[in-house]
Symmetry: C2
Subunit: 176 residues, 2 copies
């Protein structure tokens, strides 16, 4: 994994892939799949996400204010779905599903080696947590595997149906 | 266009497609492409989005509290990019680019006939507008063209590169 410039983080989040949220609480790691997220600012990169109070990850994120957003390639789609099929209070999903934890640089949560990109994040705004479980995160450090940087991702269409990235087209804008 | 049950709106937004935002201000319609959006709640469906104050659409959305989120099929990707290549204060993008305006049912903004789905929205929360240009919208009415409901969409990867939906896979979850 190499450092990805923070100005390029939106390239990863803006297309709307399913991501994995890695958290750590009382030394206990957890993972959940997440699709309700969006970019909020280019640089420093801000990301909004919804982590429901019904999820075991909610308390970890809310209390520690830290998480990793990891972006899984299509190759591990089954593991991603598995991570949503069990509860973090009952099992260590890293061990049970076969994800490899790698220490992060700026926070306590773990990067996920099987993911081609990992974003170390801190919660910077909780104003909409009580109303919508909506967190604003700042990406403090970004990592990418240069050999897998063009990995295809998955996009959830509901009820376990996923669109896999197909062809890439270039339609440059004249603006920005 | 037929009515889409509001409980199915997340099927359209969660995969993260580029959408078109249709607004209306002082009788003047406008369109902008948008990729910074996410689901916030299933039903009634809430959607968060970032509409920068630098965009001509910002004042229309902020003052009227209304918009349509229209979902373009890959077939009209060039028109979508064109909509981001000109300013709504200089041209009527519907006329200039060739989008067909269709009256909405619950709001004043126009649906876009070339899009396979259209969501009539009202702003329900402005708490994060001043900090991040972040609006919370409630979808009040949803429309889908049954003949085009499986349209492939486009996902922006930055600098005018777009991933087009490829294969669809089914990996059902045991939860929810």
């Amino acid at each position: 994994m190499r450092t990805l410039p923070l100005s390029k983080v939106y390239h990863l989040i803006e297309p709307g892939p399913v991501v994995l949220l890695s958290t750590m609480r009382h030394g206990k790691p957890n993972i959940m799949p997440m699709s309700w997220h969006m970019m909020v600012e280019f640089e420093p990169p801000l990301v909004a996400c919804i982590v429901s109070g019904a999820n075991f990850s909610f308390n970890a994120l809310n209390e520690t204010g830290e998480c990793v957003i990891a972006i899984p390639p299509v190759r591990i789609a089954r593991k991603v779905v598995q991570a949503g099929n069990c509860h973090g209070d009952a099992v260590d999903k890293f061990a049970a599903i076969g994800f490899t934890a790698v220490p992060a640089r700026k926070i306590q949560c773990s990067l996920i080696a099987e993911c081609f990109a990992n974003l170390e994040c801190k919660v910077v705004d909780r104003k909409l947590v009580s109303s919508y479980d909506l967190f604003i995160l700042e990406v403090k450090k970004a990592w990418i595997d240069p050999d897998r940087k063009n990995s295809k991702t998955i996009h959830h269409r509901g009820h376990g149906k996923f669109a896999i990235d197909g062809r890439i087209v270039s339609l440059p804008s004249k603006m920005r």
